[in-house]
C-alpha cells in the first residue's frame, strides 16, 4: 500500500514537473508583457517534433539534440513574438490572446501536415525499468524528468537573481516605463522573455514526449499547465512551479482513489475550490479592486 502510494506520488510529481515547466513559460511571458500566450503548449509539441527529426532523421547524439531543440524552440518563440504579437502590441489584450490561439492552431496543423496525425514514439536516454529504493518505486525516466526540471528551475532562478539581464527582465516586469528610463531596451527584453519561455517549453517537450508519445495534439497539455499556473496564482513564479507539481500528484492520487472520470475533472474541482478560498491562487496576491 505504502509502496504503491509513493510510486503514485513520484510518477505524479514527474508529470507535475512538466506541467510546472509549461506553467512557468505562461507566467514569464505574462509577467513581462501582460500577454497570455495560448501557444505555449504548442512549443512543447513543436520541440517534440524537432527532437524527433534530429534524433531519427539526422541521427544526432541525444545531448546535442537536447540543446539544439531548446535553442530552436527559443528561436521559434522570438519569431512568434516578432511576427504575431509585436505588431499588435497596442491592440486590446483580447486581440493578442486570440492571435496566440490562432498561432497555436497554425502550429498544430503545420505539424499535422508535415508529420501526419499518427502517434510517434520519441526515444529517450532515460530507462523505463523499475528501481526499488526503500519504499520508493520509480523509474529512471521519472527521476530524469524531475531532476532535469529542477535543474532548469534553479538555473532560471540564478539567472534572474544574479545576472544583469535577469535583473533588467525583473525590472521590466515591475514597470516598463521605469525600466525604459533606466536604459533597459524593453523590446529586447520582450524578445528574450519569449525565447526563454519557448526554450523552457522545449525542455518540457523533450521530457514529456517520450512518456505520452508524440503527436500534433500534444500541445493540449498546455491547458492543464495553464490550470496549474492559475492554481499557484497566475503571475507568481513559485506559484506556477508548485501549482504544476500539485496538479500532477493530485491527478494520480484521484485516479487511484476514485476512477478515470474523477481523475479527469479533479484538476478543475481543486482549481475551483482554491479560487473560492483564495481568489488569487495559492501564491498570488489577492486582486485589489478600487472603487
Amino acid at each position: 500500500m505504502v509502496e504503491i502510494l509513493t510510486s503514485q506520488v513520484v510518477s505524479g510529481l514527474a508529470t507535475g514537473c512538466v506541467y510546472a515547466l509549461i506553467a512557468l513559460g505562461f507566467v514569464l511571458i505574462f509577467k513581462a508583457t501582460d500577454v497570455v500566450n495560448f501557444a505555449q503548449g504548442e512549443f512543447v509539441m513543436a520541440s517534440g517534433f524537432i527532437s524527433y527529426t534530429l534524433l531519427i532523421r539526422f541521427e544526432l547524439p541525444y545531448w546535442l539534440v537536447f540543446l539544439a531543440t531548446i535553442a530552436l524552440s527559443g528561436i521559434m518563440g522570438v519569431a512568434l513574438e516578432r511576427v504575431v504579437v509585436r505588431p499588435i502590441m497596442t491592440a486590446p489584450i483580447f486581440s493578442i490572446v486570440i492571435a496566440t490561439i490562432g498561432a497555436s492552431i497554425v502550429m498544430r496543423s503545420s505539424a499535422g501536415i508535415l508529420y501526419g496525425y499518427d502517434v510517434l514514439p520519441l526515444p529517450t536516454i532515460f530507462s523505463k525499468d523499475p528501481i526499488h529504493w526503500g519504499v520508493l518505486n520509480f523509474t529512471l525516466m521519472d527521476a530524469g524528468v524531475i531532476g532535469s526540471s529542477l535543474v532548469i528551475m534553479v538555473v532560471l532562478y540564478l539567472f534572474f537573481k544574479l545576472t544583469k539581464t535577469g535583473t533588467a527582465m525583473r525590472a521590466t516586469a515591475q514597470s516598463q516605463t521605469a525600466a525604459r528610463l533606466m536604459g533597459v531596451s524593453v523590446g529586447r527584453i520582450f524578445s528574450l522573455t519569449w525565447a526563454i519561455s519557448a526554450g523552457i517549453g522545449g525542455v518540457a517537450g523533450v521530457l514529456i514526449a517520450p512518456i505520452i508519445y508524440l503527436d500534433p495534439n500534444l500541445g493540449f497539455i498546455g491547458v492543464k499547465a495553464f490550470a496549474g499556473a492559475i492554481l499557484g496564482g497566475f503571475g507568481s513564479i513559485p506559484g506556477a512551479i508548485v501549482g504544476g507539481m500539485l496538479l500532477g500528484i493530485l491527478e494520480n492520487l484521484s485516479g487511484y482513489f476514485f476512477n478515470a472520470g474523477i481523475k479527469q475533472v479533479s484538476t478543475y474541482i481543486l482549481l475551483i475550490l482554491v479560487l473560492v478560498v483564495r481568489p488569487g491562487g495559492l501564491f498570488g496576491a489577492a486582486p485589489i479592486r478600487r472603487v
Binding site: I4, K128, D129, P130, G255, A260, G261
Partner: protein, 398 residues
C-alpha cells in the same frame, strides 16, 4: 391558419410540378446513385486518438475502389467515397453524418469508424433510412440492431469470450482483471467477459476504466497490481496497451496482457517496444503477411495506390470491408437501391474472397464472418500466430 394551409398547398403543388418536370430525365430512386456513380460516406478519425486506424481504413477501402474504378466500376458505376474527420468525438460524428446524408446525399454509410462515434449516429441513420454498412467497429450492437445495420466480423463480445476461455482453460488463470475504455467500445468486451467469467463461477478481480484519449495510466496500473491479477484484459486500442504495460512494469508488475482486435496493430509494437513483448491479441481476419490470392491482391493494390502505407492489420480491415461491399454491389446489379443492396448482402453465403475464410449472411444474421478468431502474440517485435482459426461462441453480454 388559412395562410398556412394555402402555403402548404402551394408547396405541394410545386413539389408535384418538380416531380413531373423531372420525369423525363433518367433518374435513380435513391440518393447517391446516378448513371455513372455511386457515392458512399464515412466518418473517420483522421487526426485524433485513433487516427492510425482511421487513415489506414480509409486507404484500404480506397485501394479497392481505385482498382475497381480503374477497371470501369461496378455495373458501369464508379464508387466515390466521401470521408470526413470526426476526431473520434461523437458530437463531430453527428455533424459529419448530417452533412453526408443531407448535403452530399450519400447512398449508404460505409465503414464508419469507432463504436462511440457510430453509436452516436445510429438513430439518425435509422430515421433517414440510410444503411450503416460494415461500420469499422465490431461492437455486438451492429449485429443485433435490425435492418439498417450490417456488421462484418466477430464482435468484441465474441472475442472476449475467446480470451476468457483461453485464460481459464489453457493458462489456468483465475485472477483476471479488466482495463476498459469507458464507453460503448470498452463496455462491449468488458461486460461480455464478466458474463463469461460468471459461467466459470469467477469474477474480475479488478475493473478499471479509462477515458478516450487518456494517456496516463499510473493509477490504473497501481490498482491492477494491488488486485494481484495474473492477466489483464485490455479493452483498448493501440496507444493504451504499450503505455499501460510500461507503467505496470515501472512498478514491478508483470501480468499477461491480452485484448481484442483493435490492439493488434503494428503501431502497438512501435510504441511499446520491449514492454509489449508477449502481449496477446485476438485476430478475426488473417494477418497482412499471410499467404492467399486475396492477400496477394491486397498487397499489390496497397503498393500501387498507397505506396507510403506499409501493409498493416488496419488497412487490411478497410480493404476487406470494401471488397465485401463491391461483391454486394456486383450481386445487386444495375438496379441499385438501398433495399436491393441490403437484399444482396443477405444473399451472400459462404463467400470466400480468397483467404480461406468465408462470409455468410441471411435471416437475422448480420455478422458476416462472425464465428472465426484466433490468438496472436507479439514475439520478437512481430505479431505471430499462436493458434489455428477457432470457431467462436456467440458471446453475450449477460
Amino acid at each position: 391558419m388559412k395562410r398556412l394551409l394555402s402555403s402548404a398547398g402551394a408547396l405541394a403543388g410545386l413539389i408535384g410540378l418538380l416531380v413531373v418536370l423531372n420525369g423525363g430525365a433518367p433518374t435513380w430512386a435513391e440518393d447517391g446513385v446516378t448513371d455513372k456513380e455511386v457515392i458512399i460516406g464515412a466518418g473517420m478519425d483522421l487526426t485524433g486518438a485513433v487516427a492510425n486506424w482511421g487513415v489506414n481504413i480509409k486507404a484500404g477501402m480506397e485501394a479497392v475502389f481505385d482498382r475497381v474504378n480503374d477497371a470501369g466500376g461496378v455495373h458501369g458505376r464508379k464508387i466515390k467515397l466521401i470521408a470526413y474527420d470526426h476526431v473520434y468525438q461523437p458530437p463531430k460524428a453527428v455533424t459529419n453524418a448530417k452533412r453526408l446524408v443531407e448535403r452530399d446525399k450519400v447512398f449508404v454509410m460505409m465503414g464508419h469508424l469507432g463504436t462511440p462515434t457510430t453509436k452516436a449516429i445510429k438513430e439518425y441513420l435509422e430515421e433517414k433510412q440510410v444503411p450503416n454498412i460494415f461500420p469499422a467497429t465490431l461492437a455486438s450492437m451492429w449485429t443485433t440492431s435490425g435492418k439498417w445495420h450490417v456488421g462484418d466480423l466477430a464482435s468484441y463480445a465474441d472475442q472476449t469470450w475467446l480470451i476468457i476461455d483461453y485464460l481459464v482453460n489453457e493458462r489456468k488463470i483465475k485472477k483476471i482483471a479488466s482495463f476498459y475504455q469507458d464507453d460503448e467500445y470498452g463496455l462491449d468486451g468488458h461486460l461480455a467477459g464478466k458474463a463469461r467469467l460468471k459461467q466459470y463461477e469467477l469474477a474480475y478481480v479488478a475493473e478499471v476504466d479509462y477515458k478516450r484519449a487518456d494517456i496516463d495510466f499510473s493509477s490504473q496500473a497501481a490498482k491492477l497490481k494491488e488486485s494481484g491479477a495474473e492477466a489483464v484484459i485490455v479493452q483498448a486500442v493501440y496507444r493504451e496497451p504499450p503505455r499501460l504495460a510500461e507503467q505496470c512494469h515501472a512498478i514491478g508488475y508483470y501480468p499477461q496482457f491480452i485484448g481484442p482486435g483493435p490492439i493488434v496493430v503494428n503501431k502497438t509494437i512501435e510504441l511499446g517496444g520491449k514492454h509489449v513483448e508477449g502481449l496477446i491479441g485476438v485476430e478475426v481476419y488473417p494477418l497482412p503477411t499471410d499467404p492467399g490470392p486475396f492477400l496477394d491482391l491486397y498487397r499489390a493494390d496497397m503498393k500501387k495506390y498507397f505506396p507510403g502505407l506499409p501493409p498493416d492489420t488496419t488497412n487490411l480491415y478497410g480493404y476487406q470491408k470494401a471488397a465485401l461491399f463491391v461483391e454486394a454491389l456486383q450481386r445487386t446489379g444495375r438496379n441499385l437501391t438501398r433495399d436491393s443492396l441490403l437484399k444482396s448482402i443477405e444473399s451472400i453465403k459462404d463467400w470466400d474472397p480468397g483467404w480461406g475464410l468465408k462470409y455468410s449472411y441471411g435471416g437475422d444474421n448480420r455478422r458476416g464472418m462472425s464465428r472465426v478468431g484466433r490468438l496472436v502474440m507479439v514475439k520478437n517485435g512481430k505479431w505471430t500466430k499462436m493458434s489455428q482459426w477457432i470457431e467462436l461462441k456467440e458471446g453475450g453480454r449477460r
